[in-house]
Amino acid sequence: MLRDRLGLPGSKNACEQGECGSCAVLLDDELVCSCLVLAAQSEGRSVVTVEGLRNGDILHPVQQAFIDAGAVQCGFCTPGLIVAAVDLLRHQPDPSEDEIREALAGNLCRCTGYAKIIDAVKLAATAGGGST
């Protein structure tokens, strides 16, 4: 639905079993794996994908931080991680490393080894990524 009918390819269609997090979106401001939500279950509710995070031409601070920290390699996992990181910073604007790791535990990345991703979330936190 999101990708083929609405033309929003950010959220990935990968494991289809809730394991990889690359399909993560915010459903009424709640982080969910979109592969486990029927389109009909989102009727009348707000759905924010990675495409919906930026403000016009200005990237969301979390998106910018992923670029600045070099947290993107192949980029497949990135949209899901960014949505999950945005969700974390909204609940906890100044997370510890353990909190970051717990919050991102449902997102798999085969490329980066996660260190730069954690750096990106820390960078986004100092840039006030939780305020948007």
Binding site: G18, C33, A40, G106
Partner: protein, 263 residues
């Protein structure tokens, strides 16, 4: 696929009576995996997300009512975390944040997996499952509702409304063995209560038999309890671990849980 979205329990139960083959869906974290992998192709699903009567939790004359639609995140982030701490600990081990946001304690009961993490903490608290249909309402002890691996006592026209339990307020904990701290189906797990008021140790194991099982003993049998729990389990060898390892791990977990709860 035809999706029915009732907004009241009455309406949901009428759908259930009219379409006995329809599949109820709440968080979808079990259902959608089966749908995506073509293990389930329901013609009709009953989306329970809007049924108010299944939401939330409340206190009722000293007992606790937990709605079927209560998510793991609800359990962890609400006052429930201190009222049913073992259930909250178990909830925190489920999947990942997005799974905990969507997955529900009612769905976990209905799925009746031997590895359902929210089951042992409710067995040690003597939970009852509240069921409803257009015919009647009934309640079953959780242990009787769990019939076998992935089979339960739900009739084809019934829905789980919630569970009821009386929090004992006694030291308790949940522990789970797996290769990671997240996204893990338990190799085995236990919930344990050291109930000084009733002079009783209660332990329930997961992933160590066809259903989650409950074992009790007087506090004076502390020294043999870990062995008793391990012997009461009937684990199998599978891809996640061997039966021998599971029995060993249960002994270790029960020992540690007793140390944690009794000092």
């Amino acid at each position: 696929m035809n999706v029915l979205t009732p907004s009241t329990l009455d309406e949901a139960l009428r759908h259930r009576a009219e379409f006995p083959d329809a599949l109820p869906i709440q968080g979808g974290t079990d259902v959608m995996v089966d749908v995506n992998f073509d293990r389930a192709r329901p013609e009709t699903v009953i989306n329970l997300n809007r049924v108010e009567e299944l939401q939330g939790w409340r206190r009722d004359n000293g007992s606790l009512w937990l709605g079927a639609a209560l998510s793991y995140t609800d359990v962890i982030t609400s006052e429930l975390a201190s009222v049913v701490p073992a259930l909250a600990e178990a909830s925190r081990t489920v999947g990942s944040p997005p799974i905990r946001n969507r997955g529900t304690i009612g769905g976990n009961v209905a799925t009746a997996s031997p590895a359902g993490d929210a089951l042992p903490p409710r067995l040690v608290e003597g939970a009852e499952v509240l069921l409803a249909s257009t015919r009647a309402q009934r309640r079953l002890p959780l242990a009787d509702f769990l019939v076998g691996p992935k089979t339960n006592a739900l009739a084809s026209d019934e829905l789980i409304v919630g569970v009821r339990l009386t929090p004992c307020g006694q030291p308790q904990t949940f522990m789970k063995v797996g290769p990671r701290n997240a996204m893990v189906i338990a190799i085995c797990s236990i919930a344990l209560v050291a109930d000084r008021e009733r002079d009783e140790l209660r332990a329930a194991f997961g992933s160590a038999g066809p259903v989650a099982g409950l074992i009790t003993a007087p506090l004076s049998e502390r020294s043999t309890f870990a062995e008793a729990v391990s012997n009461a389990a009937s684990p199998i060898d599978d891809v996640r671990g061997t039966a021998t390892y599971r029995r060993h791990a249960l002994r270790v977990l029960v020992g540690r849980a007793m140390d944690r709860c009794l000092g």
